[in-house]
């Protein structure tokens, strides 16, 4: 092999390395651009007035997003109340019954559910709750979000519990503990960090979901805490106001975007710190 050939090959290798590094770091640019732009556009809009008032009608400046903040909080809270118990118990079932046929199908369904487009979940929630109940409601929005949370909670619970050593359970059984106490008092507390981070991740994911809420929670320009009535939420407000032609509404949407973005990113980073501290694998 001639030296020039080797030089060429090494050069090619170097060139590819530089290209890879450049492309890899180029991925960060859009995220930084979005973050920078949203912070710049949103930070000036946020003040106390913005947080405690409802939006003003078109033409009047000012107004706030209190209804969306409250709505997001309520909708997510109810969704979590529905999804967390079902998700954790289902995760326990899947980790306890690794081989049964029902577990196989159940696991397959969790996989399917994870990939279902959010708009489809919205359609289904519309037919399950909005139509029978006779109108858009915050509750139907919560159910739609709960359906989206379930696969994440189930998966993280199952994966966490799978990592626990069998001896733990055997020791508890040997002491004569009944099955439900072993699960509730030994297994779940041992895996709580993993389960918790799954729950937080799922909340972070659905907090920004708009599509399932379009036909369920629908949005509401007034302050409302009634679960059976339409309710505003941050992503809905951003969508409706961002696509409107009014500058005042765009301002509200920028402020709301910043709040939503900070909330979601904080939840994600916090979850990551937890998983690193407790060495959980998701």
């Amino acid at each position: 092999m001639t030296p020039s050939n080797i030089k060429y090959r090494i050069g090619k290798s170097r060139g590819f390395q530089v290209l890879t590094i450049t492309l890899a770091f180029a991925c960060v640019i859009p995220l930084l651009a979005i973050l920078g732009f949203i912070i710049e556009a949103g930070i000036t809009k946020i003040n106390w007035h913005f947080l405690v008032n409802v939006p003003k009608p078109v033409g009047e400046t000012g107004g706030g997003i209190a209804n969306a903040l409250l709505g997001t909080l309520i909708i997510i809270l109810v969704a979590a109340l529905i999804a967390i118990p079902i998700g954790i118990l289902c995760g326990v079932y899947l980790s306890e019954n690794k081989k049964s046929r029902l577990a196989y199908w159940s696991r397959l369904c969790v996989d399917i559910l994870q990939g279902v487009p959010s708009i489809v979940v919205g359609i289904v929630a519309y037919f399950w709750l909005v139509k029978p109940l006779g109108g858009f409601s915050a509750l139907s929005g919560s159910v739609a979000l709960a359906i989206m949370m379930l696969p994440i909670v189930i998966r993280s619970t199952e994966e966490t519990l799978k990592l626990l050593p069998d001896t733990l359970k055997e020791a508890a059984f040997a002491l004569g503990m009944p099955f439900h106490r072993v699960i509730l008092k030994v297994i779940i507390p041992c895996g709580i960090s993993g389960i918790l981070s799954g729950v937080m991740l799922s909340i972070a994911r659905v907090a920004g979901e708009t599509a399932p809420l379009l036909f369920t929670a629908f949005g509401n320009p007034y302050l409302s805490a009634n679960l059976t009535k339409p309710m505003q939420s941050l992503p809905l407000l951003i969508f409706n106001y961002a696509t409107s032609p009014y500058n005042d509404w765009h301002d509200l949407a920028w402020g709301a975007s910043l709040i939503l973005l900070v909330f979601v990113l904080m939840l994600n980073i916090f979850t990551k710190l937890i998983t690193r501290k407790w060495k959980v694998q998701l």
């Binding site: 979005i34 029902l102 399917i112 990939g115 439900h180």
Partner: protein
């Protein structure tokens, strides 16, 4: 308590429960009776708990079947009225009662595949960078976490940013190229989608590349291969199926993505002529017109789109998952 005394107590207890008057009613037998009752209760709770767990297993199956059933049931009017030609019909005009899904199918395929083509070099680069070049250290760690955060940003925020920043830029390109400068359209949505789907293929590809056995790589190095040659002829062939699965999963994401696309695609129900023209995807037309659909067939046609979207994403995800599990089991 030793066994013999326990036996005696049990005999006393069973006599008592059979109605036989026990010769002596000691404090011990009462205690045992309490203990037995407690363990009966615990066994009962245990059975209930087991049943609840099985029920939870069923909940997921019922949920997915329910989603499928609801979609099929609600799209029956449209299937009956429009038949299979619905999917190839070229015009969508609800006012005239003409429904054809072809513009949306084409719009969905165009945006998703364009987004995939744009994002693949970046996601593969991230996967190779984190999996092979620099698996450890603070800078790669930072990159990994930042790329994962890309997936965390809500899609409505991508849409809003796209509307405010990206659309004017694309409009500038269009003016330079001499096409009608609308800004919104297939290209803008593909660009936004490309950013959104980078993390999926990247994180899966990274874990696949890290699973390449080091003896394979070392053997190649010992034969005098350069780093690029190892990547090209050892790592890429070895992880081919894994990378493919990651790309499939990103495709599944891109197909179902609703909000960001709805905000920047322009929402016109005509067949897109080129990548600059505005259009509509299946998800975006549902998002836009679902609450306005006033006729049963109109609504049902939209739900049929949802059904198609559901089936396509399920199939893509299943293939992807199957490939991954086969890869990791090898």
């Amino acid at each position: 308590m030793d066994t013999s005394s326990m036996d005696k107590d049990l005999i006393t207890l069973s006599n008592a429960s059979l109605g036989v008057i026990s010769p002596v009613k000691t404090a011990d037998s009462l205690k045992i009776r309490q203990r037995l009752r407690r363990s009966y209760r615990q066994i009962k709770t245990e059975n209930v708990f087991r049943r609840v767990l099985v029920l939870m297993g069923w909940v997921m199956v019922v949920l997915v079947l329910g989603i499928l059933f609801t979609l099929v049931l609600e799209s029956v009017p449209s299937i009956r009225a429009l038949g299979a030609g619905y999917l190839w019909g070229k015009t969508w005009d609800p006012v005239q009662d003409v429904y054809g899904a072809y513009p949306f199918l084409l719009g969905t395929l165009l945006t998703s595949f364009l987004a995939l083509i744009i994002s693949i070099p970046f996601s593969i680069a991230v996967a190779i960078f984190l999996g092979e070049y620099y698996p450890e250290g603070w800078l790669p760690n930072l990159l990994k976490n930042t790329v994962e955060l890309i997936a965390a940003v809500p899609s409505v925020i991508y849409g809003f940013w796209g509307l405010a920043v990206l659309v004017p830029i694309v409009r500038g390109w269009e003016t330079k190229l001499g096409v009608q400068p609308v800004g919104v359209g297939i290209l803008s949505s593909s660009l936004i989608l490309a950013v959104m789907i980078i993390p999926y293929a990247a994180s899966l590809g990274r874990s696949m590349i890290q699973m390449v056995p080091s003896p394979l790589k070392e053997a190649a190095y010992s034969l005098g291969a350069t780093r690029w040659e190892v990547i090209r002829s050892v790592i890429i062939p070895y992880t081919k199926s894994g990378l493919f699965a990651g790309i499939l999963l990103s495709l599944g994401r891109a197909l179902g993505e609703t909000m960001a696309v709805t905000m920047v695609i322009g929402n016109t129900s005509i067949i897109p002529k080129n990548i600059f023209s505005p259009g509509n995807t299946m998800a975006s037309v549902i998002a836009n017109e679902f609450t306005e659909a006033d006729k049963p067939v109109y609504l049902s046609a939209l739900i049929e789109l949802g059904l198609v979207l559901f089936l396509v994403t399920v199939v893509i995800n299943m293939i992807g998952k199957r490939v991954i599990s086969r890869f990791t089991n090898e």
